[in-house]
């Protein structure tokens, strides 16, 4: 880390040097390490020091962006010149109104020293716990242990200034036998909260339980979706339609639905960058403080997230959900939460006469964005439930299913929210028990 003062000197120099009508400088510095294991041994192990300076200039309604990973002042002035040249070549964009005005901002300091100072030996030790646990049961472990710190700042010529630090730690593992597998992941700001032994036990138990799966015909089943599976669906739901851009382009499942019931009344989904249970970030890539936005409120389509560009089109204010400029993808909720209920997974299981237990999904993709239909496979532990008990593992199944249908057919909601996700995007979600989840195909394992 180089500190707030040095970064502010750098951004001030660039903004002072700029002759643009408006100038924005985003600085990100990262130190990260990732230790990867497979076949119960570390096979890839990396560390990285990187930076990025992103300069956006505005000439009237013409915008140019240039970036560099150099922190050299003279080099960055040349980057600014490049952004200016890029802006001059363009026709005006009538939809652009302005870079954001300053708002009261405060630091989150979601940075843990233990995570920041994590060594390759620390990560190897955590990986070793998982590998040894798997080997002890005659299984094979794969996975990764990841730690990183980010120092980030946004300044613009209108007076916006934001600076914060952030750390993240993640462990994930797939533990395998010859015929089955299990999964676990842990995410936290704190490296010491990863609990490799507990994660290993979870994945090992699942791997042992999922040996020798049997065929099950596709069809509609009452399904218990564990938190990993729910989180994956939520990420895709947000990608498909919870941004202002998707609504403005008429391609969101929220279009025409605001104020209407689109999910079970027990389901609320919101974004909150300040909630420490998630992967917190205090402001977005335009320096706008993150607002809590409840997109689905008690099952009713309520709101979407904005950056300054999409907000300007509607005469609204940004909700603090901008991605790095230039951003043709629009704003995005990155700190998702779903309301919890009052059931344990054991209670949900006991209530099922015949159905399926799904640990997680693999390779999910959008089939129909306006109907919020996804397809994907189950993975790392899929089980048949009969008379309130797990009967045994079944071979993985393909689903083709609308997410809003799932959220409308909720039988029970888990009483515990778990943080799932990766790469700066997180969701705190419960397990769900849903009726009529539609499986459309099978595979051979």
């Amino acid at each position: 880390m180089i500190g707030e003062e040095r970064i502010q000197e750098l951004t001030s120099d660039l903004i002072g040097y700029s002759t643009a009508d408006q100038t924005e400088v985003v600085v990100t510095l990262e130190e990260s390490g990732l230790t990867r294991f497979a076949n119960s041994a570390i096979h890839q192990n990396v560390m990285e020091s990187n930076a990025q300076v992103r300069i956006r200039v505005v000439l009237g309604k013409k915008i140019g962006v240039a970036t560099s990973n150099s922190l050299d002042r003279a080099a960055l002035r040349r980057v600014l010149d490049t952004a200016m040249a890029a802006a001059r070549t363009q026709p005006e964009n009538p939809y652009f109104s302005s870079l954001p005005q300053p708002k009261p901002n405060r630091r989150l300091n979601a940075c843990d020293n233990t995570t920041a100072n994590c060594t390759p030996e620390d990560r190897a030790e955590a990986a070793g716990v998982v590998c040894a646990g798997a080997l002890d049961k005659g299984l094979s472990a794969a996975g990764s242990v990841e730690t990183g710190t980010t120092e980030y700042a946004v300044a613009n010529s209108l007076g916006v200034w934001g600076y914060d630090t952030h750390s993240a730690a993640r462990l994930n593992t797939v533990v395998m036998s010859d015929t089955g597998s299990g999964y676990a992941e842990r995410n936290s700001v704190f490296f010491n909260a990863l609990e490799p032994a507990a994660a290993a036990r979870e994945a090992i138990d699942k791997a042992l339980s999922s040996r020798n799966p049997v065929d099950l015909p596709p069809g509609e089943y009452v399904t218990l979706l564990e938190e990993y599976a729910v989180g994956e669906m939520l990420f895709y739901l947000s990608y498909m339609g919870l941004s202002a851009q998707a609504v403005q382009e008429g391609r969101s499942f929220m279009n025409g639905k605001f104020g209407k019931q689109i999910a079970d009344p027990r389901v609320s989904i919101w974004d909150d960058g300040w909630d420490p249970r998630g992967i917190p970030w205090s402001f977005d890539f335009e320096g706008v403080p993150k607002q809590r936005v409840e997109m689905i409120s008690r099952g009713i389509a309520n709101a979407v997230v904005y950056d300054s560009y999409t907000a300007g089109k509607e005469g609204k204010e940004s909700t603090g959900h901008a991605l790095p400029a230039p951003n043709p993808y629009g704003p995005m909720p990155m700190n998702l939460f779903m309301s919890t209920g009052d059931s344990t997974k054991e209670q949900m299981l006991a209530s099922v006469e015949r159905g399926l237990w799904v640990t997680r999904f693999h390779y999910v993709n959008v089939v129909h964005p306006m109907q919020a239909v996804l397809t994907g496979m189950t993975r790392d532990g899929t089980f048949l439930i009969e008379n309130g008990k797990i009967v045994g593992p079944v071979k993985n199944l393909r689903f083709t299913q609308g997410v809003l249908e799932v959220l409308s057919r909720v039988r029970a909601i888990g009483n515990h929210g778990q943080l799932v996700g990766s790469h700066g995007e997180g969701a705190v979600v419960p397990a769900l028990l849903v009726d009529g989840f539609r499986f459309t195909g099978t595979t051979q394992f």
């Binding site: 497979a38 076949n39 990285e48 020091s49 915008i63 970036t67 990973n69 890029a86 070549t89 008429g250």
Partner: protein, 479 residues
């Protein structure tokens, strides 16, 4: 760059590394996005950095930095060796790279027109022209076009004596038209989906696409799709895929399963493994006699074309499937040595801050003898699908389900009814086993979004493909 590379290697060796390599990379990127007559994005990126990979104690370590100075070179080389020793704390066997590789040479992408010498005004003008053509069609809600140009200068050096310099240039572009009505959104892309088609080539590659000339057609099709009937569901029929969807089919159900690191479990926790276990090498029937696939890193213009991979192994053309029989994996030095083979040169890293992984080069389905017109005329009953929209496949690469942007019924040897939301599904070897015709109009399609590895890496790969016919395919899963 050369001095910094030598310094890293000398220090790694002095610290006890049994092998080390270093890559020093400078990369320039230019991205332009135009949407509905406005310039949505012009981004110019310059970055540089270096990464040191070291073997010590029989295990790998890698460290990288964006600061190119002697002090940082010393820190990073030392750190790479330290990380390798940490890896050795959780080890099953020592890494064996096989015989030394000593490559000395250089390579540059052949160009007719340097894309970085073409003005931004000209590039924006080209996209705005195509954008205008799309928006001329009533009912188009979003018209979008993009261009991307990348120049990568990279140096590779190893303690075995390799020293390779390469300059790789990529040019890519594409357009999309989106039409929307209540409850339905339909998109058409040209010449491929995923935002663009891309190759190792100059600006001539962009001009050759004729984006403005093809804009009106895709805009009209997007609007027509809004009122087209849903593709029939739960139908078993003959399926003809256009060249771009065939390329996607090759990518997902052939390109990934043949990666030997996946087969050996090295990607198990993320991308998955492969059904193509080692016992299948040389004997497994992957497809019908019509199916022959090569991995060719030498084909001119392919997005997976280069001079040397990121272990310094020269680019190669390798048979993968010969008349339906599986004969070779994609390999690295480490994985090839386990099979008693030499690497076939597929290790590539997504930049200076990533380790090389086994990546597809240009995985090409060899062309057949049919013309497209003859193939349609020869098909009594079936569906023709064009341009990928949705893709999903299981973690051993067996069960897949793909959707396309547009489809047509085939009846009595002619294209008929237009369909929307077409999907098909299958199991990899059975599907390729049902292939009974490959056309001869063949092109290498660039796939610029192939994800793999942790930390995540995006590879740019190519697929030679032509229109291809499959029998008895399960079509339609939407209701």
């Amino acid at each position: 760059m050369r001095e910094l590379a030598s310094r890293c290697l000398d220090l790694a060796r002095a610290l006890g590394a049994s092998y080390a390599d270093v890559r020093v990379i400078r990369q320039s990127t230019e991205e332009i996005v135009v949407k509905n007559g406005n310039v949505e994005a012009v981004l110019i990126n310059e970055e540089e950095g270096f990464g040191v990979r070291a073997l010590a104690g029989g295990s790998w370590g890698f460290a990288s930095s964006h600061r190119l100075d002697n002090a940082e070179a010393d820190r990073i080389a030392s750190l790479a060796v330290r990380i390798a020793r940490a890896s050795a704390l959780v080890k099953q066997a020592d890494v064996n790279l096989g015989p030394p590789v000593v490559s000395v040479g250089s390579y540059s992408t052949p160009l007719a027109i340097d894309p970085f010498a073409v003005s931004l005004e000209d590039k924006i003008g080209l996209l705005l022209k195509a954008d205008e053509e799309m928006r001329r069609v009533p009912g188009v809600a979003v018209a979008e076009g993009s261009l991307e140009f990348i120049r990568t200068e990279k140096l590779f050096a190893s303690t075995e004596g390799s020293f390779v310099e390469q300059t790789l240039v990529e040019s890519g572009g594409g357009i999309e038209a989106t039409a929307v009505n209540e409850g339905e959104v339909q998109k058409r892309s040209y010449p491929n989906s995923f935002g663009r088609h891309q190759g190792t080539a100059g600006y001539e590659f962009i001009l050759g696409m004729k984006l403005p000339e093809n804009a009106q057609l895709i805009a009209e099709q997007a609007v027509q799709l809004l009122s087209a009937p849903q593709c029939p569901s739960d139908l078993v029929t003959t399926l003809i895929l256009d060249p771009t969807q065939t390329a996607l089919q090759v990518h997902e159900s052939c390109g990934h399963p043949i990666e030997l690191d996946r087969v050996m479990g090295m990607e198990a926790s993320y991308a998955g493994t492969s059904f193509l276990t080692l016992d299948k090498l040389g004997s497994f029937r992957y497809g019908s006699d019509h199916v022959s696939i090569v991995a060719d890193a030498t084909v001119p213009g392919g997005l997976g074309t280069f001079g040397y991979d990121d272990e310094g192994v020269p680019a190669q053309r390798v048979p993968i499937i010969q008349n339906g029989i599986f004969v070779n994996y994609l390999t690295s030095r480490e994985t090839a040595s386990i099979l008693g083979q030499s690497s076939n040169g597929t290790m590539r890293a997504d930049g200076w801050n990533r380790i090389p992984l086994i990546r597809m080069t240009n995985i090409n389905l060899e062309p057949g003898s049919w013309t497209f017109e003859d193939l349609i005329a020869d098909t009594d009953d079936g569906i023709y699908m064009q341009t990928n929209k949705s893709w999903s496949i299981d973690d051993k690469r067996l069960n897949f389900q793909f959707g396309t942007e547009i489809a047509w019924e085939i009846k009595g040897g002619k294209l008929g009814q237009l369909y929307r939301n077409a999907t098909y599904t299958g199991i990899t070897p059975q599907f390729w086993g049902s292939c009974d015709a490959v056309c001869r109009e063949w092109n290498v399609w660039g796939t610029p979004n192939c994800g793999k590895g942790e930390p995540s890496q995006v590879a740019h790969v190519g697929h030679g493909a032509a229109a291809t016919r499959f029998r008895n395919v399960h079509v339609g899963v939407m209701r």
